[in-house]
């Protein structure tokens, strides 16, 4: 708990001080490489503005009042740009994690139950291979096959632009656009969840309470899910927490390849236009989201495994 608060403070402080470590003063550093050309009067005003409110405390106040400054490239408040991109990223990443966790968990439980079978062996083998393929590769190959070669799904964007849709059509349109990036991310996350659940299930199934449950004559599905699988859930959630920062990197690349209008693409555009305030805003915002998710998981542990609660 304390670690997350400290980590959040570190992130905020780094984000506050990075522009100030650049050579020259803050205004030159932030505006020299941008498209914006300032006249002398504007420069003086900006300088006065930034010397008037230099402190870290002031920065924190601005941060919490969503006063994150302006983007050079889009000439829009940063909070507005992030607000527009966020729902798309949440839709894509949320669905991808939900799907791959549920499916990976179920498949892992069933695979451990049928251990040694031909299907199980083939499944483990192919998942181990799939685990080694980076998102960048899957994304380009799916794009090549389904969007460019077969033409079944759109290659870019989050919805068809400039088209009047009824709500139903709009939902279908959005689903069509999200399908390929979603499939890419699921292919990246599913194998890990599957292999881990299977591994912990194999260990759990050797425990004595499983023998007891069998001896009581419980139906196999009940033993699998009510007795055994609950114990295999915790490692998967822990792994999610440990890997979330790593997975954000992959999601950035996938969004960029499909030009999906989420935070990743926004960050890519900001980087290619050297829009420093926007980069800073997105980086800080996504780090805080990652920290928040980790903190929420901490509470989820207690709910998944009541034994954890007693440890504190």
């Amino acid at each position: 708990m304390l670690a997350y608060v400290l980590a959040a403070l570190v992130m905020m402080y780094v984000s506050y001080s990075v522009p100030r470590w650049l050579p020259g003063d803050f205004v030159t550093a932030m505006y020299s490489s941008s498209h914006v050309t300032l006249n002398a009067e504007q420069e003086a005003e900006l300088r006065a503005y930034y010397t008037e409110r230099p402190g870290f405390g002031r920065y924190l106040v601005d941060l919490f009042t969503l006063n994150w400054g302006y983007s050079f490239a889009f000439l829009t408040p940063i909070s507005e740009l992030i607000g527009e991109a966020l729902p798309w990223s949440l839709l894509l990443l949320g669905t991808a994690h939900l799907l791959s966790m549920i499916l990976g968990f179920l498949a892992g439980v069933e695979a451990a139950w049928r251990r040694g079978g031909l299907v199980e062996k083939a499944g483990v083998g192919s998942m181990t291979i799939l685990e080694g393929i980076p998102e960048i590769g899957t994304a380009v190959i799916l794009l090549l096959i389904f969007a460019l070669h077969l033409g079944w799904l759109p290659a870019a964007g989050g919805e068809t632009a400039y088209v009047e849709h009824s709500t139903g059509q709009w939902i279908l349109d959005v689903m069509g656009h999200v399908a390929l990036p979603l499939a890419t991310l699921c292919l990246a996350y599913f194998p890990g969840n599957f292999l881990l659940t299977r591994g912990s299930m194999v260990m759990v199934l050797k425990e004595q309470f499983i023998d007891t449950a069998r001896a009581k004559g419980l139906p196999p599905a009940r033993i699998r899910y009510a007795h055994a699988a609950r114990n295999a859930l915790l490692p998967m959630v822990t792994r999610f927490g440990l890997r979330i920062a790593f997975m954000v990197t992959g999601a950035l690349v996938v969004e960029t390849i499909y030009a999906y209008p989420g935070l990743g693409t926004l960050l890519f555009n900001a980087i290619s236009m050297r829009d420093l305030p926007l980069i800073q805003g997105i980086v800080l915002f996504s780090s805080l989201v990652v920290l928040f998710v980790n903190l929420a998981l901490e509470f989820a542990y207690g709910w998944i495994d009541p034994r954890v609660k007693h440890a504190f």
């Binding site: 393929i133 440990l242 990197t249 992959g250 950035l252 980087i271 420093l276």
Partner: protein, 264 residues
């Protein structure tokens, strides 16, 4: 086995790369976008540079970045893990709290911020990544070192008057060797993935050849017939690279963690 074979092939490409490449990858004197020929095995890119040489240099840079980061993170992790386990008390408490804070911070975000603002050399970025990613190794090594530290042979060595430095160097460090390999492989894999992603996003020096950058540039010309000679080769190499390291990590864990062996 597969991992080792792939690893050998890639190691050969990395070591022999500069001799295999028939052109300087920065030489822009060829006809842009020409298809593969006997002179240019994979053709030429939009800037008139030989793609095959670019590919070889890209693999080299990605692998070097991965190995360097993995090595540095491992060394920091081993030192901190051992210090933490051996001394216990205040240093242990302090170092482990520090590890927890670093674990919570998404390293990629700091890298993006630093790379975008300061445009540092790949070496600096690799060191920053290592400085942010040692905690998992340190925690694993500390946990195992605590177990080994209580072993009978360590007690015996102590009884015979061995110094702390002697026990750490002769007993603790060698006994934890399998852990080093596992955590090195995991870190190197993470670092290669990061390098590819960051160079894909355009955060590295654009004159530095990299697999991620090649993919990013090739995607701009996706409507041309460049799929097979420009886009697929770097993707294939990157995938093989990450796969090789993953297989290596998985088989190392299987060999050294008997608990896991049972599960397979």
């Amino acid at each position: 086995m597969t991992g080792a074979a792939l690893g050998l092939l890639l190691a050969f490409l990395v070591l022999a790369g500069p001799w295999l490449a028939r052109h300087d990858p920065h030489d822009m004197s060829f006809r842009p976008l020409s298809p593969p020929s006997s002179e240019h095995w994979l053709g030429v890119n939009d800037g008139g540079m030989d793609l095959f040489s670019e590919l070889l240099h890209g693999i080299r840079n990605t692998v070097i970045f991965g190995l360097l980061t993995g090595m540095t993170a491992l060394v920091i992790g081993v030192v901190i893990g051992l210090v933490s386990a051996w001394f216990g008390g205040v240093p242990d408490h302090f170092l482990m709290r520090l590890a927890e804070i670093l674990l919570a911070i998404p390293a990629v975000m700091i890298l993006i911020l630093v790379a975008a603002f300061f445009r540092p050399s790949p070496l600096i970025l690799s060191l920053i990544l290592a400085a942010l990613s040692w905690p998992t190794s340190a925690k694993a090594i500390r946990a195992q070192a605590l177990v080994v530290k209580e072993g009978v042979h360590i007690q015996a060595a102590r009884q015979m008057g061995a110094s702390g430095a002697y026990i750490i160097a002769r007993h603790l460090m060698p006994e934890l060797f399998p852990l080093y390999l596992i955590s090195f492989a995991a870190k190197a894999r993470m670092a290669m993935f990061m390098e590819a992603s960051l160079s894909f996003l355009g955060l590295f020096d654009p004159t530095r050849k990299s697999l991620g950058m090649m993919i990013s540039y090739a995607l701009k010309y996706y409507y041309l017939e460049i799929w097979w000679n420009w886009l697929i080769p770097p993707i294939l190499c990157l995938t093989l690279l990450i796969m090789a390291v993953t297989f290596l990590a998985v088989s190392l864990e299987k060999v050294f963690d008997p608990r896991l062996k049972e599960a397979w």
